[in-house]
Amino acid sequence: MDSLHIEKLNVSIGEKSILNDFTLTVPKGEVHALMGPNGTGKSTLAKVLAGHQDYHTDSGSVLLDGKEILGKEPDEISHAGLFLAFQYPLEIPGVSIANFIRAAIESRLGAEESLDAPAYYRRLYEKMDLLQIDRKFTSRSLNEGFSGGEKKRAEILQMAMLEPTYCILDETDSGLDIDALKVVSNGVNFMRSNERGSLIITHYQRLLDYIVPDVVHVMWDGRIVKSGGKGLALELEEKGYDWVKDELAVACS
């Protein structure tokens, strides 16, 4: 029950099928890594989980702590506790980071509740310090003119402020220099808890040196073809995806 459970998910866009019987369970308290070659459907999976309407779900189910979230609105899914750190975060002109996160938090409050502004800013600054984001960023328009690395940090900042139950990080490490990688990993590790599950999409085993996963999955052609411990990522880095492909070919013949 206490998991993000994806069961036989089939997703297509137009005529093209992208996810094929995709099945995966991320229990609360665990961090899973998802690796796979370009175009295999990792980001598609992430967006479908978050309720993106462009994709057509042919069949399957996605249970968040036992509750179906497929077909729900993106904001409902967010309120249910799922957070997606985007591979390509969008720019929101004129809306400061502080006001944006504030609006996101306020969207979770009941009609009678109101946000405690001083407490909010204290918490925001605390998380910004943790992620080594300069205070002057609070008033900058979200992601507008941010460098690649700054955008990724801003994603983790939002995640830290919203405290979701399940986090999906789509290539949060790409575009980060080594220092930023450490900082961001630090932020993610800080949020590790028995009450939270994470799915980390990445191409590089290097990230997994900092965020040590409980399970590593390899995705190929819209499904998971291999799962294992942390060692799997190392093996993958050494041998490349052809190795998985060859193994698959053997298994299928």
Binding site: S78, P93, G94, V95, N99, F100, I105, S107, Q158
Partner: protein, 468 residues
């Protein structure tokens, strides 16, 4: 006096109305008899009645400007409109004396509360006449006049007659002529030399009756070195049939005076809002129009400043929000008529769904002038692919010593941006209003605080209404 039962109640602030009985009703349709009726109940001097009759003739003679404006204007049926409705021509000086249903209306719109909090004076117009009008005593002692047009023309002709109809001639356009024929209500303000009115004066225009036409007439004269800020708010309930609002607003800023005129318009989408607003700025005077157009079926409004004296400054900051099915045809006019005059126009429009925004501007600097400056900035934001936006800037700057700067941009809120915001928990409407607020943010920062809060709330309400 009359029953005070609520007919309609909606979550939207302005969308309710009381079934009111009127003691004065000019009936339906427009003729010389209508004007005789209006002029009669107001006990006007013959020059005012003549002014009205000339207005009627000009209105009848002028064609509808559909050769350049939208054909939707042809849908106004002038024979179905009620041109004058009131419970009397003398406004109360205390809220207690205001008839119950009218008082309740303004209570619900929050006017008495705002008056207590931050206003120096209030005039509250209900259909054709002001029901309440009051200004702080100390301002009266300083010689400030803040009354309705009926009272202004009757009690202070020596001040108002000189400028009445001089900034905007009757024949300016078909609707200024219509207003000249049937005007009623609006504010007449005079600020004596050197007097600086610190808090804003506010007028609130409320349409309550169906098929009604509201034609207020406002004239503000800021004498030498004086300062005044005037705010107007407007609402109407949602009726099936269309309603016409056609005001004329004239401002006169004498040497070194400053006038700031702020509009918070929130018409329901059955209102044709066809308004002529213009100011005359003498030497070193400054006029700033802050004009926000939210709601209405069609708004046509191009506030202008005639920069008459050396170093006069004119500014128009405008925001137009065209929701589904609405058309905001707005802009600004800056007529430079003296050396070293400067003007600034910042216009931001937002179109949502099938909403349509047009910017129309005129900036004119003739060849013989020196040291004039204009800056024009038009930005459009489109939310949803059906939206349409047009820009007709018409900037004519002649002569070597004058400078002009013009920028225009069109941006879009993409489905991916909305998805991103919704992933963080915002509803579609919240995501849209946040984008809109982000878009107008740098402009709103220039507005007085009370006004920017109100504007933000109105934008949210409009966005709520525009998603399914």
């Amino acid at each position: 006096m009359s029953a005070t039962e609520t007919i309609d109640l909606d979550f939207e602030k302005g969308n309710f109305h009381y079934d009111t009985e009127y003691d004065y009703d000019a009936g339906t349709g427009l003729s010389e008899a209508t004007i005789d009726y209006i002029s009669g109940v107001k006990e006007e001097d013959s020059w005012v009645r003549d002014f009205r009759m000339k207005g009627l003739r000009t209105f009848t003679d002028k064609p509808m400007p559909t050769h350049w404006a939208t054909r939707d204007l042809d849908n106004i049926d002038f024979n179905k409109i009620r041109y004058y409705l009131s419970k009397g021509q003398t406004p109360s000086r205390t809220w207690e004396e205001v008839p119950e249903d009218v008082k309740n209306t303004f209570e619900r719109l929050g006017i008495p509360e705002q008056e207590r909090k931050f206003l120096a004076g209030v005039e509250a117009q209900f259909d054709s006449e002001a029901a309440y009008s009051r200004m702080k005593d100390d301002l009266a002692k300083e010689g400030v006049i803040f009354v309705g047009s009926t009272e202004g023309l009757r009690e202070h002709p020596e001040i108002f007659r000189r400028w009445f109809g001089k900034v905007i001639p009757t024949s300016d356009n078909k609707f200024s002529a219509l207003n000249s024929a049937v005007f009623s209500g609006g504010s007449f303000i005079y600020v004596p030399p050197g007097v600086k009115v610190k808090q804003p004066l506010q007028a609130y225009f409320r349409i309550n009756a169906e098929n009604f036409g509201q034609f207020e007439r406002t004239l503000i004269i800021a004498d030498e070195g004086s300062e005044v800020t005037y705010m107007e708010g407007c609402t109407a309930p949602k009726f099936e049939t269309s309603t016409l609002h056609s005001a004329v607003v004239e401002l006169v800023a004498l040497k070194g005076a400053k006038i700031q005129y702020i509009t918070v318009q929130n018409w329901s989408n059955n209102v044709f809002n066809l308004v002529t607003k213009r100011a005359r700025a003498e030497e070193e005077a400054e006029v700033k129009w802050i004009d926000c157009n939210i709601g209405s079926r069609l708004t046509m409004k191009y506030p202008g400043v005639i920069l008459k004296g050396r170093k006069a400054r004119g500014e128009v900051l405008s925001i137009a929000l065209a929701g589904d099915g609405q058309h905001q045809d707005t802009g600004a006019k800056m007529i430079h008529a003296a050396d070293e005059t400067s003007s600034n126009i910042i216009a931001k429009s937002i179109s949502v769904g099938t909403g349509r925004s047009s910017y129309r501007g005129i900036v004119n600097v003739p060849r013989n002038l020196k040291g004039c400056k204009n800056n024009t900035e038009c930005d459009a934001l489109l939310i949803n692919s059906n939206s349409r936006t047009d820009t007709y800037p018409a900037i004519t700057v002649r002569g070597d010593g004058n400078s002009v700067q013009h920028e225009a941009s069109v941006s879009k809120v993409s489905a991916e941006q909305i998805f991103y915001m919704r992933q963080r928990g915002l509803s579609e409407a919240q995501a849209m209003s946040l984008s809109v607020n982000g878009f107008v943010n740098d402009l709103v920062r220039e507005f007085p605080m009370e006004y920017s809060v109100e504007l933000k709330r109105l934008i949210e309400m409009e966005m709520e209404g525009s998603v399914g």
